[in-house]
Amino acid sequence: MRKYTAALPFLAIAGVVGFLSFGAATAEQAKEKVDPQQFARGAKAWAKTCARCHNMKSAQDNSDEEWHVDVTHMRVRANIPGDVARDIEAFLRASNK
């Protein structure tokens, strides 16, 4: 019985994962649309989100590919919602040229 009880958290997580997986494809489709307001939203989110923990690095510090990965890393570490992370990434990639 103890073994089954220990497995309950995993079953709960598996259920949540199954439910949430539907959202992954939707999120990937949404990011392809060019939204002119994304730059402004990204700039604002970059300023208020990153500074919660550390100084903000310059957009020129990283290439597009590096920002793509770095922002995902920070999305996970700082619990940033995916749409906000995409805005920040768009702003940084548009500002590092």
């Binding site: 997580i13 550390h54 570490r77 700082a78």
Partner: protein, 445 residues
């Protein structure tokens, strides 16, 4: 003398009254018309002014619209100009630090080799991220220590949910997960009780579900982990991620946080676990020791017969980061009950307890003067306390009050030179207090 004709006077007065009575309305009508005309002129003038203002506003609006359209075109062009990112992309990040420390206590004045923490991030599309960080440093005896800080796969399930699997930094509290890298930490080291050997869990091995959920303009975040959990150890409980569990009970930990404003974050953390009695890697002949072998089955069987302890931790933290201010506070308390008890003899070992907290404030002097040098300075202050209860040896070894005051110079947003004074006040009477002067150069990359 000519007699006064009262009738004549009366008649004259009557005539005058009659004339004035007839002409008064005429005069009043003229005055009203004059006022009306004056009012009309005034209104006409105001309308004219309003027309001019409207014209100016229209022009400004048109100019603003042109600027906005230009900015929008620029934004679209900039966003469209971004490079194509490969399906498999990666990034090398991390940090390194070196330092020197002078002490008036028993410790010798010393250079510190510091740490080199490379972090590797590999991402496949917007589906999965693998991230791993090593901590490499030279030990006091000259050996090179390499520790795997974390090695985790992050599955991006949803905008509001990420599933993390592997070894990850503990989500409990804010210092360990977010603030411990030396280029982020405002002081040269961790607050008392928040580093290795402290109350704050360092890492965990297992699964974690985490994310951020917007509620209107506010943000709620969650991180909930199930993992192998802590083990009994030298300092009572070792709160690091272990590659294999020594009991089947999984530890549940996490942090929930809320941001009522952009600048304020309030979080609450917890950890609940079963702790098996301390195991020895190699037995030295004592009958009561529990030996852990490679296959672990025998050891787990023996451990199952000994009473496991209940470890419970909770705490809260807050962060206020507005403008030049960076203010943080964190509190954690934990206790361990029933470890090593014997049900047959009704023996209840004394519970162990830990408590730690700190509060710190830093202020960046940018904008205070015209001096570029002063703009880069950041004074900081931190006070904290760590106490242990239930075991005299542990109490003497761990309990202390720590006060830090420092001045940081930011060479760039991720390169900092820190100077600090640290006052350590040990609670054990036989331990001499200690004051340290510290310098550290840290670079986050």
């Amino acid at each position: 003398m000519k007699a006064i004709s009262y009738w004549g006077i009366a008649a004259s007065m009557a005539t005058a009254v009659a004339i004035s009575g007839l002409t008064a309305p005429l005069y009043a009508q003229d005055a009203d018309e004059a006022r009306l005309l004056e009012r009309l002129n005034s209104l006409e003038s105001e309308i004219q002014k309003l027309k001019e203002q409207l014209k100016e506003t229209k022009k400004e609006s048109s100019d603003t619209k042109k600027v906005a359209e230009k900015a929008e075109k620029k934004a679209i062009k900039a966003i469209a100009a971004k490079d194509i990112v490969r399906a498999n992309s990666w990034h090398l990040a991390g940090y390194a630090d070196v330092g020197i420390e002078f002490s008036d206590g028993d410790n010798a004045d010393t250079f510190t080799s510091g740490k080199f923490n490379p972090a590797f991030h590999f991402q496949f599309k917007d589906i999965v991220l693998f991230e791993s960080e090593f901590e490499v440093q030279t030990s006091n005896t000259g050996e090179t220590d390499i520790v795997l800080e974390y090695s985790q796969l992050d599955f991006l399930l949803h905008d509001n949910a990420v599933l993390v699997a592997g070894k990850f930094l503990s989500p409990v509290g804010q210092f360990q997960e977010r603030l411990h890298p030396s280029w982020i930490n405002k002081a040269t080291n961790a607050p008392a009780g928040f580093g290795h050997g402290g109350i704050q869990p360092i890492s965990e091995v297992g699964l974690m579900l985490r994310g951020g959920v917007p509620i209107g303009e506010k943000l709620f975040t969650y991180s909930v982990a199930v993992g192998n959990g802590p083990r009994a150890g030298h300092d009572g409980v070792e709160l690091e991620g272990f590659g294999r569990d020594d009991n089947s009970n999984k530890a549940l930990s996490g942090r929930l946080a809320f941001m009522p404003f952009d600048d304020l974050e309030i979080g609450g953390s917890f950890l609940n676990a079963k702790i098996a009695p301390e195991a020895e890697e190699e037995g030295d002949g004592h009958d009561d020791e529990v030996e852990v072998e490679d296959d672990h089955d025998e050891a787990e069987e023996i451990i199952a017969e000994v009473a496991q302890g209940d470890y419970e931790l909770w705490g809260f933290d807050l962060a206020y980061t507005r403008g030049n201010w960076d203010i943080r506070a964190e509190y954690l308390t934990a206790d361990l009950k029933g470890l090593g008890g014997d049900d047959d003899h009704d023996e209840a070992p004394e519970p162990l307890g830990w408590e730690a907290w700190y509060a710190q404030a830093a202020y960046r002097l940018s904008g205070v003067t015209d001096s570029a040098f002063i703009h880069r300075l950041e004074p900081m202050v931190r006070y904290g306390r760590f106490t242990a209860e239930g075991d005299h040896e542990l109490e003497d070894e761990l309990s202390e009050k720590r006060f830090n005051v420092g001045l940081n110079y930011w060479v760039s947003p991720s390169v900092v030179v820190k100077t600090g004074l640290e006052f350590r006040n040990y609670i054990a009477e036989h331990r001499e207090d200690d004051t340290r002067l510290q310098f550290q150069l840290s670079y986050g990359f």
